[in-house]
Symmetry: C2
């Protein structure tokens, strides 16, 4: 580690790397940023034009780079879809981890997760999350996506089971309940429009009201 | 109309048309039966291999007819998908009409509809119902499918509104509730397997239990 005087001296030269290691870190983070930009552009193109109707040429043109440049970041269109799937999943996983670790009754934590899930589904990567499996991916990639999806299902189910255990959720079939919840939320990806009167979190709250109390009126 | 004696005489010749009109009726019903068989085979092929991976040649081969013969019944692959969609829809519409006309509180009629809907979604035409819009149909066909889907949405919503009016369903947002219900049911098309331990109507009943009472445990 350089002495403070040297560090401050180096810092005086803006735009120039402080050390070869910092330069490499910067390069790496520059690469990661560009890769993220490629994946985001792919997600938007897939949603707008459909996976099959999007070519890497279109994508390269929209980013104002050449097709070989795209390959520096992601090795092909199928990998692009997979990375989109993974980016959406990362968003869902991070909200899931937060909800798993939070204090309080599991039902409230499940509802917090539902809010995060709704936001992810209507976000940039939501379309890919919902449709990736329908896109004739190779067997290996399909299997990886199925495994990742199954992981979310399992953890959602575990959250419901925790609610049954702590009494905040009534005794129910956790598997079928998780499927019903996920279905209601995933379906948003089909009907939700950005110009709709309700924002994603408002929709999530109406859903939560229904999930919480059900339909039953006076009996 | 022929006299009884002539009718009974005609009936004695089995296999032979009773009249040119009857012959035409028989031909027509033969045509309709064959057309139904073509549409059913298409639905199964689309589900099994995907729409884009199914060719009319495959379909003709599976029915042991020539491709031109297929065109006698349905004018092309896109029309085939549309007819599959319409067949699934007809199933849902018929259960919907039954539930609309039935006596009793609207909540019970809604639940009867949910059972019928679940059966249709996992049936032969369910896949086409769910995915038709993702298959790059022409604008005109896409629009027709959207209109037909919107019709089901609207009638499902009306059933919920009727429940709020008769007190069997508590005051809720009928539009969002209908979307949540339809989403939960449609999602079955993604995860349901015929060899699963629960049959479609058992799944529908677990869903109904959840839709009815919600998740809330002891508070």
């Amino acid at each position: 580690m350089p002495a403070p005087s040297i560090r401050s001296k180096i810092r005086k030269t803006p735009g120039e790397p402080a050390s070869p290691w910092a330069a490499r870190r910067r390069l790496r983070s520059g690469h990661a940023l560009k890769r993220d930009a490629v994946i985001l552009a792919a997600a938007r193109a897939f949603r707008q034009r459909g996976y099959h109707n999007t070519s890497l040429d279109d994508l390269a043109a929209s980013l104002e780079v050449t097709k070989p440049t795209l390959y520096l970041y992601v090795p092909g269109k199928e990998a692009m879809l997979f990375e989109c799937f993974r980016a959406g999943l990362a968003q869902i996983q991070s909200t899931l981890e937060e909800c798993e670790r939070a204090p309080g009754p599991a039902r409230e934590r499940l509802f917090a997760f539902i809010r995060g899930y709704a936001a992810a589904i209507v976000g940039d990567f939501g379309w890919c999350m919902l449709r990736a499996e329908d896109q004739h991916l190779g067997t290996a990639m399909s299997r990886r996506i199925k495994l990742l999806k199954a992981g979310i299902d399992r953890r959602m189910r575990a959250l419901i089971e925790a609610g049954v255990a702590d009494g905040s959720i009534r005794d129910c079939d956790p598997k079928m309940t998780a499927f019903a919840l996920a279905g209601a939320l995933n379906w948003m990806g089909h009907w939700y429009r950005e110009d709709a009167s309700l924002k994603p979190l408002e929709i999530a709250d109406r859903f939560i009201d229904f999930f919480n109390r059900g339909l039953r009126g006076r009996d």
